[in-house]
Symmetry: C2
């Protein structure tokens, strides 16, 4: 079932903000920490939040049966104890992207940009969860949450840079990249 | 851009309820009339509503470029003066459907069930707009609003019956069919 998730910029919380970069488009205000709320509480206003970004997990939109099975076989869940690094990458795509029919979006996503094939190379080290915001009227169409160990941070950077060089990314009109860290024994989520 | 739409069962409104049928799954309470609200007002509680169903127009999920162009070339807008008949068909699909990868849902939707090809036969007579509710946490995944002239009512019935006989419909776990009428000079929406 779809799960509503809110990411809130707050004064204190489990994830410490290490940096916020407006890669393209409008910036997001600075915040000391990030809180992640799930389910019914994610719909409510977050007390003291500088900003709150929301998205909902949903059914897969592009992957084939074969890609789905490869992803499931190799991915690991959020919340691993050694995953003390995280990133929240918020993206808005252009109207030109949304006006494309499904077959052409799929072609750009995978046959041209190899979004799944590239991501698979970084499993199981990089755990991720995708949240959809466009149909909720949110400023960002996608919020992708990544978790990884400190020793996989360079690998994660490689994944991000490869995706940003693809044809798919030419349809990204706005992107904010928020990097986070937590103490090993802190409650992560 | 996605448009939030609320369909509210009310005591008085532009569309008179002619019948509510629970085709499968849970029924919807009876109401005398239906109001259709769009945009920011659709997010608010509707005064005096027996029930309110919400959905959002969104990007297309299955159609190819060729199908998209055929649909655009033949379809007509909502709100035609002669469209004094309407139907709101609310559908929930099973978890088995949502667990399928995109390529298998597409195959069932069109190559097996011919959802687009069949619908094209009923254009331009039957105007329609699809609204997505699943990611909003709504009880129905899809709310499809149809408008047509009284002399096309039998044709519309044929479309509905053909779709209900498809493989795609074997994944429908809940369906409510609400039929409506308005006076020719009433404000339709």
């Amino acid at each position: 079932m779809p799960l509503l998730v809110a990411f809130a910029g707050v004064d204190s919380g489990p994830w410490r903000v290490e940096g916020i970069e407006a890669v393209s488009g409008d910036p997001v205000a600075s915040a000391a920490c990030l809180s992640v709320l799930e389910g019914p509480t994610a719909a409510r206003a977050v007390e003291g939040a500088v900003w709150t970004l929301r998205g909902v997990t949903s059914n897969e939109r592009y992957v084939t049966r074969r890609e789905h099975e490869e992803l499931v076989a190799r991915q690991e869940p959020l919340g691993r104890p050694e995953s003390t690094c995280a990133a929240l990458i918020a993206i808005k795509k252009s109207e030109a992207w949304w006006d494309l029919p499904q077959d052409e979006r799929r072609h750009i996503f995978e046959e041209s940009s190899r979004h799944v094939a590239t991501s698979l190379e970084y499993l199981p080290e990089i755990a991720r969860r995708l949240h959809h915001g466009r149909d909720l009227g949110e400023p960002f169409d996608f919020l992708t949450w990544f978790e990884f160990a400190p020793w996989d941070a360079a690998g994660f950077e490689g994944l991000v840079q490869r995706l940003r060089g693809t044809e798919e990314w030419s349809y990204v009109s706005s992107e904010v990249d928020i990097r986070l860290a937590r103490e090993k024994d802190a409650l992560a989520r």
